[in-house]
């Protein structure tokens, strides 16, 4: 590249700047084009992922609507926006599903949970986590049944003091070599149920008497 017979205009600062600018423009054009082509399929993939995870915590029998239709946006306990997906049968809200997060050993554990109208847990699943493979990853349903131990529980049953891992005097098993991970999940689920309790009036209302959009 360091050719001796290089033409002199190449040594000018303008050429260098123009070259960089040209490549930056070219790169930007390519990226815009790539984004246009892929954004449709990517959005569709994410939608499918979301439906798949919602279906894991809300059984098909209790709703006849499309779960992704008309979600509610509510302010969560920490002031954050929470999107709540509703299972509707006829005109009654039969269940809710929303995401919660726990502070795991290696960063946040993202969890989706389904709650029945009556406040019982329909299901809890871990969506994403960075816990230690072989120790903390037993929170995944593919590896261990532990996460199913929440099914059917509610606030007050077990009593509040038992919403903890056994090491902390609660009733949930911890894993050998990993206490922080299950503790984080238990706390997150408990927070999720408290969120339900605090907002259930608003969340379970049948759209304030206005006619309900039926899922087709």
């Amino acid at each position: 590249m360091s050719d001796v017979s290089e033409p002199s205009y190449r040594q000018r600062i303008g050429y260098q700047a123009g070259l960089l600018g040209g490549f930056a423009t070219l790169a930007a054009t390519l990226l815009v084009a790539g984004n246009l082509v892929t954004q449709g399929p990517i959005a569709e993939n994410q939608r499918r992922d979301l439906i798949r995870s919602l279906e894991r915590v809300i059984p098909a029998e209790i709703h006849d609507n499309q779960l992704l239709d008309a979600p509610l946006t509510v302010t969560g306990p920490a002031g954050q926006e929470m999107t709540v997906y509703r299972a509707i049968q006829g005109e009654t809200v039969t269940g809710l599903a929303y995401k919660v997060a726990g502070n795991g050993y290696a960063g946040p554990i993202h969890i989706i949970m389904g709650v029945k109208r009556t406040g019982e847990v329909l299901g809890v699943r871990v969506l994403a986590h960075a816990e230690t493979p072989g120790l903390g990853d037993k929170i995944e349903v593919e590896r261990d049944d532990w996460i199913l131990s929440f099914d059917g529980l509610r606030l007050g049953e077990p009593p509040e003091s038992e919403w903890a891992v056994k090491k902390d005097g609660g009733r949930f098993d911890q894993f050998t070599g990993a206490t922080i991970t299950p503790r984080a999940v238990v706390n997150a689920v408990k927070d999720g149920l408290e969120f339900f309790e605090a907002n259930k009036g608003q969340l379970l209302a049948s759209e304030g008497g206005v006619e309900i959009e039926r899922g087709d």
């Binding site: 590249m1 360091s2 290089e6 190449r10 040594q11 050429y15 260098q16 070259l19 960089l20 490549f23 930056a24 790169a27 390519l30 990226l31 790539g34 984004n35 082509v37 892929t38 449709g40 399929p41 990517i42 993939n45 992922d49 230690t132 493979p133 072989g134 120790l135």
Partner: protein, 228 residues
Amino acid sequence: MSADYKRITKDGIWDNNVVFSQLLALCPLLAVTGTATNGLGMGLASIAVMVAAGFAVALFRGIITPQVRIPVFILIIATLVTLVDMFMSAWLHDLHKVLGLFIPLIVTNCAILGRAETFSSRNGLLPSMTDGLMMGLGFTLALVALGAFREVLGSGTLFANAALLLGDAFSFMELTLIPEYRGFLLMILPPGGFIALGFILAAKRVIDRKLTERKGLAEADAPAAATG
């Protein structure tokens, strides 16, 4: 500049292998090789980027001046990696969920910048693309070898979830070598990557020495020492 494709091939896959000889690209290498399938996916993505980068750099080598070549190369590589990332997210979604975190790491794969600098900017289109392909294949070989080594010892399987990457037709590749294996956690974790890499590097040196001895050459360590 005459292109010696045989030399390029041999260099890329063995003599001047990105990992085994140049010891480059260790960051993506150690991060993804918990299983052979992840390694293969990362390798294929890297091949795509390396071939395309070789093409682009060789194409523009006439107008790029030495003063601004590094930013231009990085811009080209970063653009290509971002495109690969988007395309994988759109059409290889399940694999992208596994590898997604590591795809941007391809940018930090100094092997690509290194080849742009030392090879593509001095050679024509076809030799540059061949070099990218062979270097990429060599990198893939290293990824799969290390991934297989760690997966067999760590989980007792080989090419688990290969169907996710290559389609259902390749589910025959998914082997459980050691049934009822409880797992050897260390090999899956980062330290296992370093340990396995050490063994593989040592094995390559031994093989090289044997090959040189057979040829009756004196300088046993020539290929490794020249680039290390």
